[in-house]
Symmetry: C2
Subunit: 302 residues, 2 copies
């Protein structure tokens, strides 16, 4: 797949605004990042902010601008209704919300229904283009992927379509525990990451018992001086990432799990997965650009 | 067991200071409660605060004053080292920390080591006297007890001694989710308790999957208008209490679980336990007074 128009790929999330200018072969010519997530943008000001930071790129003749992420949420520029799973490029392309026909579009997020008794809905926005980008780079059309973060996503892809996914509030619970809980009072949050202690937390989380109980050990292991204040955040991180991992149907014999995210997070997940003998490979957040390029090529094969 | 000295029973916790004056047969003659938990008391001021609120009682001739709770912690009046389990009245009595010999004593908390690979320590302060008080009232010397709260305790007692217990951060996680998480943004925290929705949360928590995933449904069930903003706190409460319950080795054939706590909380736990067909009976927080009276009788059989 190639694409003959210049592409402006934008990932506009809750806390940051990232963009890349891509050549017609998908090469990143330039990228920019600003702390101007949708929470900083007053209603009605999204177009102005986009022009403020990317106005020069938007003047490129015949350019196509695709915007993924929370900009398409109810709190964003305009609501792009979720595209229901199973969904691949063609479903995403059909659900683009054109802000300027043929020129600027919002990429919708995905929704799915859980297999539980309540058929609990789940949602993502922005991760879908990272998923498709990472699959392109890995040359695979079926995989289990994990996108760690505030709200981690575990995703099952078959035949190039997202079939099902689950969100885990791992990153948010970690932040709440550090910043607002009784555990935070005894932790030294500036302590360097300690891989051995992190893996102790991973092992503990795989044992019988609830995370609600395991968490309290962050307090008592400090109280009884079994771990130092600087080690406790690594232990807490291991407990929570381990709780997320123990509910995954992965095995040592499966194809590698694809991990997509920042270097700091993919390092922790890779460490944990390898420790549990689950093969994996990682990709950075620039998977967004590959995904938006592939989407552009697929929905606009000019 | 009877006790021939007047008893001043004090439960001095993190956020409140409660006291009761008991007759020599253990009858509560008067009780008082103040929002003067240990967090409000500057170091060195504990004796003064005790006299400010209970000075008249302390003047009763020959009175014995027993103080349980966080007043005996490192951040309290003075540290009363934890009494290791197994522990009953006699061990607690031997570990009293006398502030004024024969007159005012701090009751120590309990510690135990978990059966997990790390032998993770666990601790309680204040709950131990409630446990012994509730057992006296129930006329039992062996039981499984639960003390719901910020940090719920599940306790195994045999032959009048606490053998083992586990802490769950259920109440604190509920508060953090309501006050500081993304879930709080869509919940109406003033919504009346909805028993049917609470039990939906209980049922969901018993299904396969991690609490870190189930929690996110509080957002999506609101987003897709499957539950109203006023119903979401009841659902969240059911998810978290259910997560705590699913890790208990209780069964429909066992002796009733003893639930000790405030009316609002024992109501929720009773509802959940009955729903899961686990027999239970409940006691109020005044179990503290019965426990301190029994301890006084046991350690000072004058």
């Amino acid at each position: 797949m190639t694409h003959t128009r210049p592409l402006l790929a934008i990932d506009w999330g809750t806390s940051s605004l990232r963009g890349a200018r891509l050549s017609d072969t998908g090469q990143v010519l330039e990228s920019r990042e600003y702390p101007r997530g949708i929470l900083t943008v007053p209603a009605g000001q999204f177009e102005a902010v986009l022009h403020e930071f990317f106005g020069d790129w938007l003047q490129v003749p015949n350019a196509l601008c695709l915007i993924s992420g929370m900009a398409g949420s109810r709190q964003g520029w305009q609501e792009a209704p979720y595209c229901p799973c199973p969904a691949g490029f063609s479903e995403l392309g059909q659900h683009l919300l054109w802000l300027q026909p043929g020129r600027i579009a919002l990429v919708p997020g995905l929704s799915c229904l859980g297999a539980d008794a309540l058929n609990t809905p789940d949602v993502m926005r922005g991760e879908e283009v990272q998923i498709f980008g990472a699959l392109q780079k890995a040359g695979r059309d079926s995989a289990t992927l994990v996108l760690p973060g505030t709200h981690s996503k575990w995703v099952q892809v078959q035949g190039g379509r997202v079939m099902q996914f689950q969100t885990f509030m791992t990153g948010e619970v970690f932040a709440l525990m550090c910043q607002h809980s009784i555990l935070g009072k005894t932790m030294d949050l500036k302590g360097a990451f300690d891989p051995a202690v992190f893996l102790q937390g991973i092992d503990q989380s795989q044992q019988h018992g609830s995370a609600l109980h395991h968490l309290f050990a962050v307090r008592t292991l400090g109280l009884f001086e079994r771990l130092s204040a600087a080690q406790l955040p690594s232990y807490l991180s291991g407990l929570l990432i381990g709780e997320e991992l123990r509910h995954q149907a992965t095995s040592a014999h499966a194809e590698p799990v694809i991990v997509i995210g920042s270097e700091a997070l993919t390092m922790r997940y890779t460490l944990a997965l390898q420790h549990l003998r689950i093969p994996c490979q990682s990709h950075g957040a620039e998977a967004s650009w590959a995904g938006l390029y592939a989407l552009a090529s697929s929905c606009d094969p000019s």
